[in-house]
């Protein structure tokens, strides 16, 4: 193992991010306790712009699932949900989140001094990422006696056609009508246009943030990305997200100019396919750091890098971006996407995470790693684990696998 002597230079913007997140969750908590304000829960690439434009405060439960994993408490909470009949092999974001509600245990309490996730007035999903969100949301719908509504875009698409977009757009129109009727609201179309424009700009800035990793050495890693992506998920459609990414970009460009790498003695650049292993993000980050290897690009962080809004039909933009995301595409489209990123980020090898409870966001089960290895002539590794449930992860095996992978890259470099 090669140990880097140069000390890591932390990204300064992270301090600002902590404050931003604090204010975000405090405001959500205030909204949940204010009868004049409404809270809607939404899936992470769901139609949140409609909710914001209608005046809802938006909360993203998948972020809470990730937080429970990162805080290493999911495995204690999941049994509560399993006891209710939710399979231990189904989405561990879902089972840990339901478990946290049943146990009244949320890291948000301790972190921000609030009562936990904000109580919902409305639950909105899109099955563009998985069907599990419907079951997850329905649990809370029953528990809180609030409506659950959603859209179900066509899945596993090759090309996303105008017909697909029109079909999903019609679902969004129907959804708006349902919400308007339920809550006695009327959507302000100009407001929606403004929110979508902000969302698109946040996403464009996020893509620029990810693109800084093209530099050698890269100023940012996947493990930084999973932290700094919070505003584009939680606050897209707001000026706050834009301000944050503009500041972060200035810092990252400075790092590139000054040659400050996220991994100072960068030797190899690898790609991470699949979900993060949230309970082990720190350990994995340190492992790659010790191996002088930067995880320069990932499918996960790119999930919120949408195409630009052209200023015309905001619902068509929402329909398109939510339908054409990686997870919703066929194998050939996914492989082509990965190939583009391998070239773009000068990738030496790819690691696929087989997330045991997330088959939809796992791409190692139908031979793709083998095909990638043949087509792009790069070493490929599959590691077993899970996004949140640590019981599926073996530290010794995974770390040995990763070390051997770097030995393989050394071998190939000779």
């Amino acid at each position: 193992m090669v140990s880097t002597a140069v000390k890591r230079v932390e990204i300064e913007a992270q301090k600002q991010l902590r404050g931003l997140l604090r204010e975000h969750f405090l405001d959500l908590d205030r909204a949940a306790h204010d009868t004049d304000r409404k809270v809607a829960w939404c899936t992470s690439v769901g139609p949140c712009e409609i909710l914001t434009a209608l005046g809802f405060e938006v909360y993203f439960p998948e972020n809470h699932g990730a937080l429970l994993g990162a805080k290493k408490i999911s495995h204690r909470l999941i049994p509560r949900a399993v006891g209710l009949g939710y399979s231990a092999e189904s989405c561990s974001y879902m089972t840990s989140d339901i478990g946290s509600t049943l146990a009244d245990a949320s890291p948000l309490k301790e972190a921000f001094g609030i009562s936990g996730p904000p109580k919902p007035d409305l639950l909105i999903y899109s099955t563009n990422q998985c069907r599990e969100v419907q079951d997850w949301w329905n649990f809370y719908g029953r528990r809180n006696g609030v409506p659950v509504m959603g859209v179900c875009p066509p899945t596993h698409l090759g090309e996303v056609t105008a017909e697909h977009v029109a079909f999903v757009r019609r679902m969004l129109v129907k959804l708006i009508e349902q919400i308007e009727v339920q809550f006695g609201l009327k959507l302000d179309r100009e407001r929606l246009r403004d929110v979508v424009a902000l969302s698109s700009r946040a996403s464009a800035l996020w893509r620029q943030v990810l693109d800084t990793a093209r530099a050698h050495p890269s100023p940012i890693t996947f493990f930084d990305g999973v932290i700094h992506m919070a505003p584009v998920i939680l606050m897209r459609g707001s000026q706050k997200a834009l301000d944050y990414y503009e500041g972060l970009l200035v810092e990252l460009w400075d790092r590139i100019r000054e040659g400050i790498g996220a991994v100072p003695s960068e030797r190899f650049r690898v790609y991470w396919e699949g979900m993060p292993i949230w309970p082990k993000v720190r350990e994995l980050s340190e492992k790659f750091y010790d191996l002088s290897t930067v995880v320069a690009a990932s499918t996960y962080c790119n999930s919120w890098a949408f195409e630009d809004y052209d200023g015309t039909d905001p619902l068509a933009w929402m329909a398109r971006i939510s339908t054409e995301i990686f997870i919703n595409r066929d194998e050939a489209s996914k492989q082509a996407f990965l190939g583009e990123l391998f070239d773009r980020f000068d990738i030496d090898g790819a690691i696929f995470h087989n997330a045991r409870t997330c088959p939809n966001n796992t791409n190692s089960r139908f031979g793709m790693p083998q095909r990638i290895r043949e087509e792009y002539n790069i070493p490929v590794l599959v590691v077993d684990g899970d996004l949140s449930d640590i019981r599926f992860f073996s530290a010794a095996q995974t770390m040995t696998n990763i070390e051997a992978f770097i030995e393989q890259l050394e071998d190939h470099a000779r």
């Binding site: 193992m1 090669v2 083998q370 290895r373 095996q397 040995t400 051997a404 030995e407 393989q408 071998d411």
Partner: protein, 272 residues
């Protein structure tokens, strides 16, 4: 001045193996001890016995590479290299044409594939599950009240093509009970267990092209495993002279080559 000694120590989940080479790459000492609770102590013991065999002392150690799950516990190691690279290096020294190496250890099973040039092409390790590992066999043997060696002896007497339907250690245990109730011969049940491992191994192989070698403690002790692998893979499986020591041997070769190359970072699989 005494002959310099190159040390490879493989601290596995069940056993700690040590191999010593002289400057010409000749194997001059080796030993294996149970890993136990204290990896450093086990490694020290294996090293002491190996040095005794080689009539050498610690002062003669020119370089040491550690490998295996406990590789970080070895303070005298100049470098740690994964057991994947070390098993590949060791097996390739014995069989230069080998393309697939099947290493079945106590805790895990590794399938290592080499390129025509002897570089690491691909490797796979079992998931967080004992299926296909030495622990699988040990657990069932314990349940049947026999040792691993006795299980092997029984299996080698089997004449029936018995196959177990489970990989899972727990479910296979249940299946064995069912087979006993059905009156199946203990020899055939025993051989079925080895076939279960061989079938699991075959699923982990990305390609069956080229010569195959088996390494690790299970291959060292169980002829029935080699028989089962040859049946399932329909190919000859080469068993090296010291299968259990393949990782330690590879580590010692890497130590020797690193020193000879005058580099701090060891070469491994590609060098022969």
């Amino acid at each position: 001045m005494s002959e310099p000694i190159y040390v490879g120590i493989d601290v596995g989940s069940s056993a700690t193996k040590c191999v010593l080479l002289d400057g010409g790459g000749e194997l001059v000492g080796h030993h294996v001890v149970p890993s136990g609770f204290d990896y450093a102590e086990s490694a020290d013991s294996a090293l002491a016995h190996s040095l005794l065999q080689a009539s050498a002392s610690r002062a003669d150690i020119a370089s040491c590479v550690s490998t295996g799950y406990g590789r970080a516990s070895i303070s005298i190691a100049d470098r740690q290299v994964t057991e994947i690279s070390c098993h590949a290096r060791g097996a390739r020294e014995w069989y230069p044409q080998v393309r697939n190496i099947i290493d079945i250890g106590g805790q895990d099973t590794k399938i290592i594939r080499l390129t025509d040039e002897g570089k690491l092409a691909d490797y796979r390790m079992n998931a967080k599950c004992a299926a296909g590992t030495g622990t699988f066999l040990e657990s069932i043997a314990l349940k049947l009240g026999v040792t691993l060696d006795q299980l092997d002896e029984l299996a080698m007497k089997s004449r029936e093509d018995t196959v177990m339907n489970s990989y899972c250690t727990v479910f296979t245990g249940t299946e064995v009970i069912e087979r006993i109730k059905e009156g199946q011969a203990r020899e055939d049940i025993s051989m079925g267990l080895f076939r279960s491992i061989a079938t699991r191994v075959s699923e982990m192989m990305s390609s069956r092209d080229g010569p195959v070698s088996a390494t690790g403690g299970v291959a060292a002790h169980c002829r029935a495993l080699i028989r089962a692998l040859e049946e399932v893979l329909e190919a000859e499986v080469f068993l090296p002279p010291m299968p259990q020591h393949a990782g330690a041997y590879g580590a010692a070769l890497i130590a020797l080559e690193s020193k000879q190359a005058g580099r701090s970072s060891a070469d491994h699989v590609a060098r022969g």
